[in-house]
């Protein structure tokens, strides 16, 4: 063996980088996303993300639908946090029309949207554990998420595509057993979240896989347009709910969790802490929910005046913005969505360079992207 090595002319051997196709059906890519990796041994030299497999032309489709039908399309943008998406579109139209949403509807919206945030983060927790090689947490996280989804079914009639938030309020009042359902759900949920937290957060193997991996500094993150938990993991306390309080968020007391290092573990733990904050918001909203109507507009055609608005909101994945142009008809003239996942994903190439392939999977998981929103 040694003889053979000696005979080889080491100076003139060359190694060619290998191309590795990851996705579009790779289980770690959370949807249909393809990453073309140029690897040198185990190390990623370069990465080229390919998106567009889930492109449905949602923005264009919006132009052909009446305003109340567009809500169904927004449901399907970020299909992990449907309520948050419905909400931002409804708010855009409400702002354009100058409609005041009844207080009760606002409370219901906050409760459901925050529950959706927890559901989304739970899904992230489970699948991120899976990306790092932990099989068990996903079971626990899905069990908890299933509780939330069951609650959504009781309230809105659907587990995922609700079409429950309408322009001017919500579709119908909550069911009569809403209080019982929600209080028992909150009890269970707090236990579940704590359990998931205990299961994964400080597990040595998990910490070793994620701490110091995929670090990004605040400056770069801002340049890439990061928002939401991923940005807060880099150390900037920026949350649309605090920076520009919409709806009734100024009535509640909650913290904005911030981390410092901007690595995968920080991005993970900020989300875990956010779940606790969301729970506290829901509890506050639940105790203060007033009686009254839930719908400001009657059953008439929605025809906003000519003009345009930009509305933003804090989604589980970051800041979502909707730019809506109306030409005074019953259909929008243009709807532009600023998706948070797309901006996080754009930094992927920067993040995975010079890491191991296994770490690239972890980094992609830590960005918590939803392809429905990236591709639209």
């Amino acid at each position: 063996m040694t003889n053979h090595m000696d005979q080889m002319d080491i100076e003139h051997t060359q190694s060619v980088d290998m191309m590795l196709n990851m996705g579009p059906q790779h289980p770690s890519t959370h949807g249909v996303f393809r990453m073309l990796l140029r690897i040198d041994g185990e190390v990623v030299v370069d990465a080229e993300p390919h998106i567009g497999y889930l492109h449905r032309g949602s923005e264009k489709l919006c132009e052909g639908e009446q305003y109340h039908q567009v809500v169904t399309l927004f449901d399907r943008l970020d299909y992990i946090s449907n309520f948050n998406n419905e909400w931002v579109f409804c708010r855009a139209v409400e702002k354009l029309m100058g409609v005041e949403v009844p207080q009760r509807a606002e409370y219901i919206r906050v409760i459901l949207a925050e529950l959706n945030r927890i559901a989304s983060h739970l899904l992230f927790l489970g699948t991120f554990g899976l990306d790092a090689g932990a099989m068990t947490p996903v079971m626990f996280a899905f069990r908890a998420r299933e509780r939330i989804q069951g609650f959504f079914e009781a309230v809105s009639g659907a587990r995922m595509m609700h079409n429950y938030f309408h322009i001017g309020g919500v579709k119908e009042d909550v069911p009569h057993n809403f209080n019982d359902l929600l209080s028992s759900l909150l009890l269970d949920l707090r236990k579940d979240v704590e359990e998931c937290d205990r299961l994964l957060s400080f597990n040595e193997v998990f910490v070793a896989r994620t701490k110091g991996v995929g670090e990004i500094d605040l400056e770069t993150a801002l340049d890439y347009g990061w928002t939401g938990p991923s940005l807060r993991a880099c150390g900037l306390e920026y949350d649309v709910r605090k920076a520009e309080p919409y709806s009734i968020y100024n009535l509640f007391e909650f913290e904005v969790p911030v981390a410092r290092d901007g690595d995968c573990w920080d991005r993970y733990y900020v989300r875990v802490l956010e779940m606790y904050e969301s729970l506290s918001i829901i509890e506050q909203a639940f105790s203060g929910i007033p009686d009254g109507p839930v719908m400001a507009l009657g059953r008439r055609l929605i025809r906003p005046p000519k003009g345009d608005v930009y509305v933003r909101a804090e989604n589980p994945r970051g800041e979502i913005g909707v730019y809506l142009v109306s030409d005074g008809t019953d259909k929008p003239y243009r709807v532009k969505v600023r998706p948070p996942s797309f901006c996080s994903l754009s930094a992927l190439r920067h993040l995975v360079r010079d890491t191991y392939i296994a770490d690239a999977v972890v980094i992609l998981g830590s960005l918590d992207i939803v392809l429905g929103e990236v591709d639209r």
Partner: protein, 170 residues
């Protein structure tokens, strides 16, 4: 080390918990009362005809354009048995295209369409999910029986009467 042990403890404790998994095909899932399954048409038992007058409101409002309908003169109206002058002749919903949004139910003025509790609708034919009037009515009557369905407009009227009564007595 401590973190892993803590995690192991969680796993150990959960070993003794009751499983939460639904044994789906053997034991169908219990759905919530508000569950939105496939849309179906309701049957007016007091007259013996569908509620639907094929007014086309839901068809125009459906975001996926998955329904069609035509209307005809109601023979029972001529015999003065029914107050509906027109009645549905042909109705079809392509359940493959339906996105279960519930808009059709919201816009219908005649209590004629409901989101049934049906959610199993896979078949072997490409067009097997294009359900015509009799199929929709069958789904609807099953739903009506299962949930003791009362037309929403009657519910609303009863609520209004209640409120009026309360006001009068106050």
């Amino acid at each position: 080390m401590l973190g892993s042990i803590k995690g192991m403890l969680v796993t150990l404790v959960s070993t003794f918990r009751k499983p939460v998994t639904d044994q789906y095909p053997n034991k169908p899932r219990q759905v919530e009362p508000r569950y939105m399954g496939f849309p179906a048409l309701t049957w007016d038992h007091s007259v013996g005809e569908p509620y639907c007058t094929a007014c086309m409101v839901c068809i125009r409002q459906c975001p996926t354009q998955c329904m069609t309908a035509t209307m005809k003169d109601n023979p029972l109206h001529k015999e003065e048995k029914s107050s509906r002058r027109k009645i549905v002749d042909v109705f079809e919903i392509n359940l493959n295209r339906c996105i279960l949004c519930g808009i059709c139910v919201e816009v219908c003025n005649f209590d004629a369409i409901v989101m049934s509790h049906e959610y199993e609708h896979s078949g072997y034919e490409r067009n097997g999910d294009r359900v015509a009037l009799d199929g929709l009515l069958e789904m609807g009557t099953t739903y009506q029986k299962k949930t003791n369905w009362v037309p929403p407009s009657e519910l609303k009227k009863a609520l209004k009467d209640d409120l009026a009564l309360k006001k009068a007595t106050d």
